[in-house]
């Protein structure tokens, strides 16, 4: 006889259940707690360990007044540490603290369920910073574990293995629903309200200033900048100049962007062959969009500046996808206003005298601006300049020191010095930053551009031609432009791990891995409102409105629910066929006044039939035996129920 037990939500949590909850919480919390500031993270960690210790040795939980004090202390500490109780990070810290405290007052099953809900919620916090496949897998494992803990709360004392299995099965069954919702649920372009300032933490990438060393730092980062899918064959490596911030102002050390005004149309004529491609830009929290020089169209929600730079209207906080067309041979700005040119000649007064002297000597000997440029490039080629990621530190007269002293530098040194020399010689010039090159992944033929491809080059204005790109780094280290940074740097210079040439054997593996990452980024992470529209378009629903999508989603869910419903009722159908046939047999017999009595078992029934109608004794006993075997016996074959149904159907009262 079953042991009657209480099952209300108010029932107590057993130590076994508490251990399950603790394990689930630990799995969810561990990756989060290490990211918290120590002043919050360490006490939270101590609280978790304390809770685990109390439950493991069956100690008494702390009294409510102590918990009240702890809640107050935690709230105050978070408010002080973050200077605000609102926003993403304080919110996560608060939830963590509450979870730890809830584990200390785990009394009823309802408390246990609250812990589980907090855990489910904190899984989202895991996804704030990283959204790779690894994190996704971890989150799914977290869901399984928390679900297992919930199962333990629902019924104490189930074996661990069965619980995990059940949680796995349920999660697997939830996946089809997730997929339907994920693909069809109308995506809304966030944010719904103003995000707190800490929503987007700092990211590495180009900035709108350039000082010696600023790009060199980036070169150590193998992080992704953007990916490009070309419609046709990709252009040659040396033509891949991805235009970014244009820096016009110089204060003797730092190059800065000028205030620019947006163009309302593309200010140049197409020339040569167009290159069509789609850029998938990683979020960098800046407004600029990268495109090959010179971009021939302006993406949605973006503008073109007077320096021919593409700017999004709002900072790029999420991976952005934009189609682009570039004219590699076009030139622009032939009719640049004098004010712009004047700004592109301005230099701070009385700095770097030797460089100025060098420039004025070129000016005196050259026939025109092109002659000055040629002399400058020849100078870089002739003198013993070294292209390196580890240049010596430069002092106050940075350009002079670099040109005549150290002669070791990275692209920003060369671009900066070159533009300085041009301006000193009276040629309008400016620094352009961006990326150069990239790596084609043969697996999915995406061009991958990394932070280490960051580059700076120069742009000079020539009468009749307009702005013309000059890359002084190419004069010093042609291989940088031809074959990428790894080829250009001297051996021993630090490089991102996977770019080192001694790891070449790993490259096919790396390509495959990165192609998978790209597919993930494109179709899972990058599944935005725009992607959703594109997908519906491809499926033939061009102007799918929410009604059509909702209808499709509802229909699919209905199909799935019926499938699951059929599964839930599955065993019954077979059983019922047997019961139905048994009733049908009784109905047939009722014509002889021999309906089965409710209490009558099959054997008794057959005996009664046999006594009342001896000619039916044989078949009745046979049917009853078969029924008894199907119902109460073992080993009736899989066809047994069908056979029974068939025999009842062919049973006749009269031969």
């Amino acid at each position: 006889m079953a042991n009657p037990r209480r099952a209300e939500p108010g029932a107590c949590v057993s130590p076994r259940q508490a251990i399950w909850l603790l394990a689930a919480s630990a799995a969810v919390v561990a990756p989060l707690i290490v990211k918290l500031p120590a002043v919050i993270g360490v006490p939270s960690g101590i609280l978790f360990v304390y809770a685990a210790w109390l439950w493991a040795r069956g100690g008494r939980l702390p009294p409510p007044w102590l918990l009240a004090i702890l809640v107050a202390v935690a709230t105050a500490a978070i408010a002080i540490a973050y200077r605000s109780a609102f926003g993403r990070e304080p919110g996560v810290a608060m939830l963590l603290a509450f979870l730890a405290l809830k584990l200390l007052e785990l009394r009823t099953r309802r408390d246990g369920f609250t812990v589980a809900l907090l855990c489910y919620f904190l899984l989202l916090a895991l996804l704030f910073d990283r959204q790779g496949p690894g994190v996704a897998a971890y989150a799914v494992a977290g869901v399984v574990l928390v679900t297992a803990a919930v199962l333990q709360i629902a019924r104490d004392g189930q074996p661990a293995r069965a619980t995990i299995e059940r949680a796995l099965v349920m999660t697997a069954q939830a996946v089809p629903f997730m997929l339907v919702f994920f693909v069809l649920f109308p995506r809304v372009q966030g944010p719904l309200w103003g995000l707190p300032k800490d929503a987007f933490s700092a990211m590495s990438g180009l900035s709108d200033t350039m000082t010696p060393g600023s790009i060199g730092e980036l070169s150590l980062s193998g992080a992704l900048a953007f990916r490009v899918k070309f419609a046709g064959a990709p252009p040659a490596q040396r033509d891949l100049y991805w235009r970014g911030p244009v820096l016009t102002r110089f204060d003797g050390r730092t190059w800065r962007a000028a205030r620019s005004t947006p163009h309302d149309r593309i200010p140049w004529e197409p020339a040569g062959k167009a290159v069509e491609y789609v850029v998938t830009l990683e979020p960098h929290n800046q407004r600029w969009l990268f495109a090959l020089e010179l971009p021939g169209l302006v993406p949605e929600a973006a503008v073109m500046t007077s320096e021919f730079q593409l700017l999004a209207r709002t900072p790029v906080h999420q991976r952005a996808l934009y189609p682009m067309r570039s004219w590699l041979e076009a030139s622009a700005g032939a009719a640049e206003p004098e004010a712009t040119l004047g700004e592109a000649r301005r230099l701070p007064a009385r700095s770097n005298p030797r460089s100025r002297m060098l420039a004025s000597r070129w000016r005196a000997t050259a026939a025109d601006d092109s002659g000055v440029i040629a002399q400058a490039l020849a100078h870089f080629r002739r003198e013993p300049f070294v292209y390196t990621l580890t240049p010596p530190v430069l002092g106050k007269e940075a350009i002079d020191e670099f040109l005549f002293g150290t002669r070791r530098g990275f692209c920003e040194h060369y671009a900066g010095a070159f533009v300085f020399l041009m301006r000193a010689a009276g040629v309008p010039a400016r620094v352009v930053t961006g990326y150069q090159g990239g790596e084609i992944n043969p697996v999915d033929s995406y061009l991958v551009v990394r932070q280490s491809d960051a580059h700076a080059w120069a742009e000079v204005w020539l009468a009749g031609r307009g702005w013309t790109r000059i890359d002084p780094t190419a004069a010093v280290a042609p291989s940088r432009i031809e074959r990428g940074i790894a080829a250009a740097l001297p051996a021993g210079d630090p490089l991102p791990f996977l770019m080192r040439s001694e790891l070449d054997w790993l490259r096919p593996l790396r390509f495959r891995w990165e192609a998978m990452g790209n597919a993930w980024d494109q179709w899972v992470i990058g599944y935005t409102a725009a992607r959703q529209r594109e997908l519906f378009g491809r499926l033939g629903m061009q102007d799918a409105d929410w009604r059509a999508i909702g209808g499709a989603m509802g229909a699919l869910l209905a199909v799935m629910l019926s499938a699951f419903g059929a599964w839930a009722l599955h065993e019954h159908a077979r059983q019922d066929a047997v019961a139905g046939a048994w009733s049908a047999f009784s109905r047939k017999m009722s014509r002889l006044g021999l309906a089965r009595r409710p209490h009558e078992g099959p054997t008794d029934y057959a005996r009664r039939i046999g006594a009342a109608a001896p000619r039916l004794a044989g078949p009745a006993a046979e049917l009853a035996g078969l029924y008894a075997q199907l119902r109460y016996g073992r080993g009736a074959g899989p066809g047994g129920s069908r056979e029974f149904v068939r025999r009842v159907r062919s049973f006749r009262l009269r031969p």
């Binding site: 629902a154 944010p191 839930a568």
Partner: protein, 332 residues
């Protein structure tokens, strides 16, 4: 004015209730065994925990939209899928459960009537944490292993003598996740006999409680036991009813009919005139037990029922049953 206005509504409400019971819950009085909980009579509604879970999902969705977290959407929808799946699991945990009735052992009024229900699971998977709650009484939790059956005895306080039914029993489960409750209501056609509660410290059976038809009880002979009376110091110790004395009752002396083969009659009409009907039944029940303990042949005579003197457990039960059902219509 207002109280009278409320009156006409009450029958309408009762009728509505009745309609809901009949149509939705398929309840039309006690139903015979076996019951199989068909899908038509298994209902599913979210629990409070389920509502909290739904609120969590909505919050997650808002967070995912706000921070543009594609994986956040995925997590949200995975949990939503888990919610949907848990509905089906809860439903499946209950649907097609077979219920048959066990035998109810009679109890004395004031005790606990136990209604054994045999829950049979034809499915290969176990059904876990089924909660059976009678209208009055404690809920019971039971697991039924795959392909097996389990017996759960619902304990319902026995408050009135006569036939007691378990009333409506809610069978529910919130397993696996506690987010939804699948439930069904059954009204088993079971009954448990409730005997009148035996009077405490009832007076001993007087030897004079002999039948009035002339067969007089013997005058203290020692052949056949005929009854008990209060102990007097002059009585032989061999005639003391030690059995009942051992249970803490007052000392009684066994009386023996002297060769007449007479028996004791427990007679409704011979009890104190001041006793109410229920008190009489209580006293007679106590006397039946006492007679049984004393190993006496006894007969029972109450209005409408006369049970000839006999001994043995079956007779005792027949007598107690007659007492339990006194005044009830035989149809029940």
């Amino acid at each position: 004015m207002t109280p009278t206005l409320a009156l006409p509504a009450a029958p309408a409400l009762a009728r509505l209730r009745d309609f809901v019971d009949r149509w939705l819950f398929r309840l039309a009085g006690p139903e015979p065994a076996p019951i199989v909980l068909g899908q038509r009579r298994v209902f599913v509604l979210p629990t409070r925990a389920g509502l909290a879970f739904a609120a969590t999902i909505v919050t997650l969705l808002i967070g995912s939209i706000n921070y543009g977290l594609s994986l956040g959407y995925a997590l949200t929808f995975l949990l939503a899928g888990l919610g949907v799946v848990s509905i089906l699991h809860a439903f499946r945990n209950l649907v097609h459960l077979g219920i048959e009735y066990g035998r109810c052992d009679p109890v004395f009024c004031g005790g606990v009537a136990r209604f054994p229900l045999v829950l049979s699971n034809r499915r290969a998977q176990a059904r876990i944490a089924l909660v059976l709650t009678p209208a009055v009484g404690e809920p019971a939790v039971v697991d039924v292993a795959g392909g097996a059956s389990a017996v759960v005895a619902l304990a319902v306080p026995a408050r009135r003598r006569g036939w007691q039914r378990p009333g409506r029993i809610r069978i529910e489960t919130t397993f696996p996740l506690g987010l939804v409750r699948a439930w069904s209501v059954i009204e088993p056609d079971m009954r448990c006999l409730v005997w009148p509660s035996p009077e405490r410290n009832a007076p001993p059976i007087e030897a004079g409680q002999a039948p009035s038809d002339g067969t007089s009880a013997g005058a203290g002979g020692s052949d056949d036991f005929s009854g008990l009376r209060g102990h007097r110091p002059s009585d032989s110790p061999r005639h003391v009813a030690w059995k009942s004395a051992a249970r803490g009752a007052a000392l009684l002396t066994k009386l023996f009919a002297g060769g007449g083969g007479d028996t004791v009659w427990l007679d409704w009409d011979r009890l104190d005139a001041g006793l109410s009907a229920e008190a009489r039944l209580s006293r007679l029940a106590a006397q039946v037990l006492r007679a049984r303990d004393g190993g006496v042949r006894f007969g029972l005579r109450i209005p409408g029922v006369v049970l000839a003197p006999q001994s043995g457990a079956a007779h005792v039960e027949a007598c107690l049953k007659a007492l339990a059902l006194h005044g009830e219509s035989p149809a029940r």
